[in-house]
């Protein structure tokens, strides 16, 4: 999965709820992607370089569009300076992107075992292509989707197409049950009989997913969102405390040793 650095062109930009769905023509990025890989975006024009740190975004979708073989769609939640800048890009604008990044994407099971996918807000973005890959392997897919409110919930309709069972939970109860993802996890796990839990969301949610999986004797694969200054493995500034193969504590790099890690490998108490 050798990443490339390209000047991407915005092919489409669509507001859906609280998110901006941005489709990019980024030659070489989509062709090589795996569910759980991400792109690093430069904020601002290339000449400006006011923001040196890059912003990471999950690859949500890769599909042929407008004559291009593999366009890349990102789901951007405008929050701070970087995401607001990106969300404001219009059709025809250019954006510097590097990708696909990540040394470890979601690992797929060898057997057709039941799986539970857990996504929170925009972070559910990589789970849809993951679900497709899992279904190709005949894994029964269950899905938990959560968000603060309906506007921040990602594609619940699409979810019902790809998963055999979908649990929706929102903080304000605007759609689905009222509560948080961790609230509904144990029940969803029990019903799905999942052997693997795939989770993407805030750190507390990932931690909850890892714990719940462990209690149910399931494996977990968590997609961490640690701040990634470069995203490419160059700056050594994205430490994740983990337990290595031999059981010894070591420090992994979120961007190249992750961003997807086994939940039982992360030393959650030491994670900042």
């Amino acid at each position: 999965m050798t990443p490339v650095h390209v000047t991407a062109e915005v092919l489409a930009s669509k507001r859906i709820g609280a998110h901006q769905h941005l489709t990019l023509v980024a030659p070489g990025v989509g062709e090589r992607f795996r569910p759980g890989s991400f792109v690093a975006v430069s904020v601002g024009s290339a000449a400006e370089r006011w923001h040196l740190a890059r912003r990471a975004f999950w690859i949500h979708q890769v599909r042929p569009l407008g004559g291009y073989a593999a366009t890349v769609t990102l789901v951007v939640e405008p929050r701070g300076p970087g995401s607001r800048w990106l969300a404001a890009r219009q059709r025809g604008d250019t954006v510097e992107v590097t990708g696909p990044l990540g040394g470890r994407a979601f690992a797929l099971p060898k057997e057709p075992v039941p799986v539970l996918l857990v996504g929170e807000g925009y972070a559910a973005a990589p789970l849809f292509t993951l679900a497709e890959r899992l279904r190709e392997r005949d894994c029964p897919v269950s899905l938990v989707l959560g968000a603060a409110d309906e506007a921040h919930l990602l594609s619940a309709l699409e979810a019902r197409r790809i998963a055999r069972s979908v649990t929706v939970v929102t903080g304000d109860g605007s759609v689905g049950a009222r509560g948080t993802v961790p609230d509904v996890l144990p029940e969803a796990l029990r019903r799905s009989g999942a052997a693997v839990v795939y989770a993407a969301g805030s750190t507390p949610t990932l931690h909850a997913a890892a714990l719940a999986a462990e209690e149910h004797g399931a494996w977990s694969q968590v997609a961490l969102e640690q701040q990634t200054t470069c995203g490419t493995g160059l700056c050594l500034g994205c430490p994740v405390p983990v337990v290595g193969e031999e059981g010894v504590a070591r420090t992994a790099r979120a961007c190249v040793d992750g961003p997807v890690l086994r939940g039982d490998r992360v030393r959650w108490g030491d994670l900042r």
Binding site: A53, R54, L234, G237, P239, T251
Partner: protein
């Protein structure tokens, strides 16, 4: 465009700065490592260091503030795996070293002296968070001289020492003269500027924000060395991104430039710079 830096003939005046290329592997995917005049490794210590356990990089206007804690596999680990790999990839390798005290500098240099493929040694006397990182805190010019001598004494002829110094405009003239007297074949100006992270941790400031300061240091260093009749080269580091940036430093007498944080922003920066500098500037 070949250049001679510290007596070494390099394929390009563009070098990869210390600590901004991961292990080298992560950069190799974007351009062959032979593209660069040299790849300076992250600073290697005698013993392995895990580095900071909490994220230590923050963004600031046109800059990065960083305290990554010098993560590296230690000299043995570096010599066993990273160095051979860099060499098979065709990189010209400059090993950056940093130590707690002079004896440790000498010990590290002694072991590097027998390692094949080390083109030069860059002594990191510019660690911006030296005390917090637990390495020699270079405050006085005589520290520079002592560390350069300690390393140089152990190295075979033909393996030059580059002294990387703090971009301290007040004392730069004095520091470069001491480095040259001690036998440094080049000075690198400068490292990251001493700064602090938003939470107050000691750190370094890098990026375009420090470029004017680095430019001043390079100018003063070249002047001071010329006045003293020293043959020591000046290598520039600090906020270099574009060909214009690089040319400004070369015009002031630097023989080469190092690209650091710009690589974190765009991993192809240094390769593109090398290409741009190898074609003559078009004057309108």
């Amino acid at each position: 465009m070949t250049v001679t830096v510290a007596g070494l003939v390099l394929a390009s005046p563009v070098m990869v700065a210390s600590g901004c290329a991961g292990t080298g592997r992560e950069l190799a995917g974007y351009a062959p490592l032979s593209t660069y005049g040299a790849v300076v490794t992250r600073s290697i210590t005698r013993d392995p260091r895990p580095g900071a356990q909490v994220p230590g990089i923050a963004e600031t206007p046109a800059g990065l503030v960083h305290a990554t804690g010098l993560p590296n596999p230690g000299l043995d680990g570096f010599l066993a795996t990273e160095l051979p790999w860099l060499l098979t990839e065709g990189a010209r390798v400059v090993v950056s070293v940093v130590a707690r005290e002079l004896g440790e500098y000498a010990e590290v240099a002694r072991r590097l002296a027998t390692a094949p493929g080390v083109s030069a040694v860059e002594v990191n006397l510019a660690q911006p968070d030296a005390v917090a990182a637990g390495v020699l805190d270079v405050r006085e010019p005589f520290h520079v001289g002592a560390a350069v001598s300690a390393v140089l004494r152990e190295l075979p002829r033909g393996v030059p020492v580059l002294a990387k110094l703090r971009p301290d405009t007040v004392r730069v003239a004095e520091a470069v003269k001491v480095a040259a007297d001690a036998g440094a074949a080049a000075v690198v100006l400068g490292g990251a500027l001493p700064a602090a992270l938003p939470d107050g941790r000691d750190a370094g400031l890098s990026g375009p924000a420090v470029r004017p300061l680095a430019l001043r240091c390079v100018a003063d260093a070249r002047r001071a060395l010329d006045a003293a009749g020293a043959t020591c080269d000046v290598v520039a580091s600090g906020g270099i991104v574009t060909p214009q940036d690089a040319r400004a430093f070369l015009d002031l007498g630097a023989v080469a430039v190092q690209v650091g944080s710009a690589l974190l922003h765009d991993p192809t920066t240094a390769a593109r710079l090398a290409t741009a500098l190898s074609t003559p500037e078009v004057t309108p």
